[in-house]
Amino acid sequence: MRIRVNSKEYDIASGPATTLLDVLRYELGLTGTKEGCSTGSCGSCTVLIDHKAVNSCLVIAAEVEGKDIVTIEGLAQDGILHPLQQAFMDAGAVQCGFCTPGIILAAKAFLDSNPHPTESEIRQGISGNLCRCTGYDKIVRAIMSVSRSQRG
């Protein structure tokens, strides 16, 4: 089976009944995607499939054949961090870091569909992602700052 992750094609050996999360972490070694609850509740395993944020723990490998997958490893371009990654660093929005990849990808998908949200829309947009350090204020501020800098 062939899948496309971060603009690169891979032939994968995992069977169809393997979760996308396990394929990414254990077969492709892309461990930026985290496994939290494994039930679709925490958002740690969020990746983008065809630009949409999904929980990779609830998707099986067979479903993503021919799809375009983006993980946290695919966000920086030519060594330059994605604006959201930079904003998270600048705002100190990373504590233990476990939720960060999932939240950044959820925030990216959210801002792509709603470039200038209110604070409450952001909070609702990332409500599928838990931060057990509870660092939500800085996370929301980081996302707000990217939305502001995109304002034309």
Binding site: G15, A17, T18, Y26, T39, N55, L58, E63, G128
Partner: protein, 300 residues
């Protein structure tokens, strides 16, 4: 390399047509499970609640991806259309606001990008958020097998937790929701212990349709979730509100009557007693909100 483990022993197929899917269903029977968004099924397989021998991915079937609105027929939603796509279909927020409210509180952005309306009702959770709104809107479901196609009122679709009228060889094709009449309003309210990403303690949808030129209800529908073994209508409560002006007293009586129609359980989210109280409160709030939308001054 660490070995990658699979979540179950099943084969996977992705048929390209409805006919092919129905043929597979007829051959495999109970061993086959339909996969749309997978937000319930994959979890059920992981948690060993279901162990299908075959998973049939229906995301590629045209009929199940239909999302259309016409004045005459209303809204047709293919069973595999993801919730996020339904929410961004403009007519849904314009004309079917109670369905919009219900779909927007299901799961998270990630869940709504995968999960479908068809999945929400086929999984038949007593707490299914879309069900009360669909029941109030008079939704019908189109069901097909290799032998025949049938139309079932959603009122007759739910049998018990996780159980519907679907036979093993049958597939839910689409959900049809008639055009709401001009003089009508509806809303869906639910109570959760946390604001987002939670399963409801109880949910209530209320729909009021008025006689033309009068502020008197011609039809009232009240539907509830998470207070019985299936989502259900509160028919006796509805009857109390029809053909007479709405007053605080009739709202109070109707709300009290909805409680009599529930059979709640106590679980980790709430006690049965609390659910009975909440369903009463939500019914009153939902009816008052409908009245507000219809410009009705509720008499004391």
């Amino acid at each position: 390399m660490t070995s990658v483990s699979s979540i179950g022993q099943f084969s996977y197929c992705k048929p390209g047509s409805l006919q092919e899917t129905l043929k597979i269903m007829a051959e495999k029977g109970a061993g086959a499970r339909i996969l749309a968004g997978g937000t319930d099924l994959i979890l059920q397989i992981k948690q060993k609640q279901k162990s299908p021998s075959l998973v049939v991915d229906v995301k590629g079937i045209g009929e199940l991806n239909r999302l259309e609105y016409t004045e005459a027929l209303g809204l047709c939603i293919g069973a595999a259309v993801p919730l996020s796509k339904i929410l961004s279909f403009p007519i849904v927020s314009e004309k079917y606001s109670m369905l919009y409210q219900a779909c927007s509180v299901i799961g998270s952005m990630q869940i709504r990008n995968r999960g479908s309306l068809g999945g929400n009702i086929c999984n038949a959770a007593p707490s299914a958020d879309s069900a009360p709104a669909l029941l109030c809107l008079g939704a019908k479901v189109i069901i097909a097998s290799g032998k025949k196609t049938r139309i079932v009122n959603l009122d007759d679709f739910f049998v018990g937790p996780g159980i519907t009228r679907l036979e093993h060889d049958e597939l839910l094709i689409e959900i049809e929701i008639p055009n709401p009449p001009k003089q009508s309003a509806g809303c869906y309210l639910r109570h959760t212990t946390r604001e987002e990403m939670d399963i409801s303690v109880a949910g209530v949808a209320a729909y009021i349709e008025l006689f033309p030129e009068l502020k008197v209800p011609k039809e009232v529908r009240i539907a509830m979730s998470a207070v019985a073994s299936t989502p259900l209508r509160a028919h006796s409560a509805e009857a109390l509100l029809v053909d007479r002006p709405i007053t605080e007293k009739t709202i109070e009586q109707a709300a009290q009557t909805t409680v009599d129609e529930t059979k709640p359980i106590s679980d980790v989210r709430a006690s049965a007693e609390y659910r009975r109280e909440i369903v009463k409160v939500l019914t009153k709030r939902a009816l008052r909100k409908d009245c507000e939308m219809l410009g009705i001054d509720i008499q004391g």
